[in-house]
């Protein structure tokens, strides 16, 4: 047994902008144990519920995260709508689905870029982000924002997309899909990339269940579970398979996310084909009373929204359980026994969003 050393990692690290701190117990170059600590970017967004009424709180909760901001807003709205027991118009459901899948696309492309950056492939990193840029432009054209979209509302959505805009988007996605397919071949086929990802960070199916992994992290360990199957928004009307991989390693996680990109293209196409005409919002009157629990599949995994109302316009509680938080335990597991050089890469494979986790 070699000499043990403790190396602090983060919260500021050149590879990883996410503010997570790890105490890495090393034995030579091997990580024996990783002790995480978070709490560097806590902003107290959940406590703002006592200061803002339930309609205005939407603008607070969607600022939980800069990547899944749409889904945070949507999950909260779905929870409040469930308390009111209102059914939002079908068109609004489809619009939400399209924006959700666009969020997934840009999140996964961002992640692929960050992964390339983590294993030192700068050129690939910029290629991925170049693709992502087009999606951000589409978001800006349709919602008015590139990061925070502010199009959700309790009872529907605030902005509509006309058929010309939707057709334009589909045409753009068609051309983008070919480019992304060409680009992702590098991730799946390249020898150097494979050597960094294959058999690194093994998380077996049993461990994934035991430690409560969610999202692509879980699906890459061969568990077939996707919250979208619950049929929220318009997912019930759309045809899609759950993408899994039995690789159980970093390569598997990369593969699952790449395939989810193509699945998102297909889901957007289906949604644009099926989108009905009609209203995009229903009026919601009065104050909510009761509680609701909503599960939403974010790009990083399953997020849970819990909202408790007391009959006034101020809610008692709005709680989010973010996917990154649940994925931290599997992360600690996969860090045990890994090489020191693989630590940033392994942290990235859970697609961490510490700002989400701490709110």
């Amino acid at each position: 047994m070699g000499k043990r050393t403790i190396v602090p990692f983060g919260p500021q690290h050149p590879v990883l902008p996410e503010p997570i701190h790890l105490d890495l117990v090393l034995e030579d170059e091997k990580v024996i144990e990783a002790i995480p600590s978070i709490g560097f970017v806590h902003r107290g967004l959940e406590s703002l519920i006592s200061k803002r009424d339930f309609n205005d709180y939407l603008y607070v909760i969607e600022r939980t995260c800069g990547i899944c901001s749409f889904m945070h807003g949507m999950g909260y709205c779905e929870a409040v709508e469930r308390i009111f027991d209102v059914e939002i118009p079908d068109r609004a459901k489809y619009l939400r689905t399209i924006w959700c899948e666009m969020s997934r696309l840009h999140s996964h492309l961002l992640w692929l870029g960050l992964l390339a950056d983590a294993f030192g492939f700068e050129a690939l990193f910029y290629q991925c982000w170049r693709m992502r840029e087009k999606i951000l432009d589409m978001f800006e054209a349709s919602t008015g924002g590139r990061v925070i979209f502010s199009v959700n509302k309790v009872g529907g959505v605030l902005k509509d997309m006309d058929s010309a805009m939707l057709k334009g988007f589909v045409a753009e996605f068609d051309s983008m899909e070919a480019d992304v397919r060409k680009l992702t071949k590098v991730f799946l086929k390249d020898y150097t990339v494979k050597s960094r990802l294959k058999d690194v960070g093994i998380l077996t199916k049993e461990e994934a269940i035991q430690l409560g992994a969610v999202g692509p992290m879980m699906r890459a360990s061969g568990i077939e579970l996707d919250t979208r199957r619950l049929g929220y928004c318009a997912y019930g009307d759309l045809d899609f398979d759950i993408i899994t991989s039995n690789d159980c390693d970093s390569f598997g996680r990369c593969k699952v996310r790449i395939e989810e990109i193509f699945q998102s293209f297909s889901l957007i196409r289906q949604a644009v084909d099926k989108i009905p005409e009609g209203n995009i919002v229903v009026p919601v009157k009065g104050n909510p009373d009761g509680e609701a629990f909503v599960r939403v599949e974010q790009p990083r995994g399953e997020a849970i929204y819990y909202v408790k109302a007391n009959g006034t316009k101020f809610l008692d509680r709005a709680r989010v359980r973010t996917p990154t938080f649940t994925n931290l335990s599997p992360l600690i597991k996969i860090l045990q026994g890994c090489d020191y050089a693989d630590v940033p890469l392994l942290i990235l494979t859970i697609d961490p969003c510490i700002s989400c986790t701490e709110r």
Partner: protein
């Protein structure tokens, strides 16, 4: 060999590709129509009701009803468009260009029209039914635009002189004078909403128009109640009333 040259085609195509980036600052970015850049206000239409300030999640807006000023902390604004969506007078708009950057916080203040008796009100409408030709309206008129002759039972108004201030409407003991809606609320904004229950048909339009949900109307029991704590005196109910039974004092 192919396994390690998988990126070569990208590298080669990038060599012969036009740059993806714009040649900033020589080529400026064209923002889409919907871009949420900065808030603009048409301050002449503003009632200074303060709903925008209440709705603003980052408390960037300050409204002073007394001095009729509306100000926004440009750096504090998070461009959520909530104020634009909740403005009862639609005087706020979102422009698609960003406000200029600065090292200090920029607070833009807009000054509304101060004079109370500007031509902000609507046309005075006279109803001969109920008029007792007492002449109070003529006495109250600051512009001396009204002439009342009790003997011949005539009521005339000089439209050119009339300042549309609404003083005659307020003075009329028989409530036979009214001011046309729309613009009327502006002149009277800022006060308490009163309902003439004799005229009211309890249709509930005012409750629907109220941005603060401060009004409750029950047609069955013929009750009309207003939550004064919630009311922001925006005048949206007065504008929406088909019977003109709502007034602002």
């Amino acid at each position: 060999m192919l396994k390690i040259m998988s990126f070569a085609s990208h590298a080669l195509s990038n060599l012969f590709h036009k740059p993806v980036t714009r040649n900033y600052p020589f080529v400026e970015r064209k923002y889409p129509e919907r871009t949420r850049g900065h808030i603009d206000i048409n301050v002449d239409d503003c009632l200074f009701c303060g709903i925008c300030a209440k709705k603003c999640p980052s408390d960037a807006i300050t409204v002073d009803r007394a001095s009729k000023t509306w100000s926004i902390d440009r750096m504090g604004c998070v461009q959520c468009e909530n104020c634009v969506n909740s403005c009862p007078k639609s005087c706020l708009t979102m422009a698609n260009t960003y406000s200029a950057p600065d090292t200090k916080a920029i607070v833009d203040t807009f000054q509304g029209k101060v004079e109370e008796t500007s031509n902000a009100g609507g046309k005075i409408v006279f109803s001969a039914e109920g008029c007792v030709y007492c002449g109070l309206c003529a006495k109250k008129c600051p512009a001396n635009a009204i002439t009342v002759d009790r003997a011949s039972k005539t009521w005339t108004i000089n439209e050119e002189e009339c300042a549309k201030c609404g003083a005659c409407v307020a003075a009329c003991p028989k409530k036979c004078l009214s001011q046309e809606s729309g613009e009327a609320a502006k002149a009277t904004a800022g006060g308490e909403v009163k309902n003439d229950l004799d005229v009211c048909v309890f249709c509930g339009l005012c409750a629907r128009k109220c941005p603060q949900e401060a009004i409750t109307v029950d047609r069955a029991s013929k009750t009309w109640t207003i939550n004064k704590d919630e009311c922001v005196s925006c005048g949206a109910c007065v504008d929406g009333c088909p019977k003109k039974c709502l007034t602002m004092e």
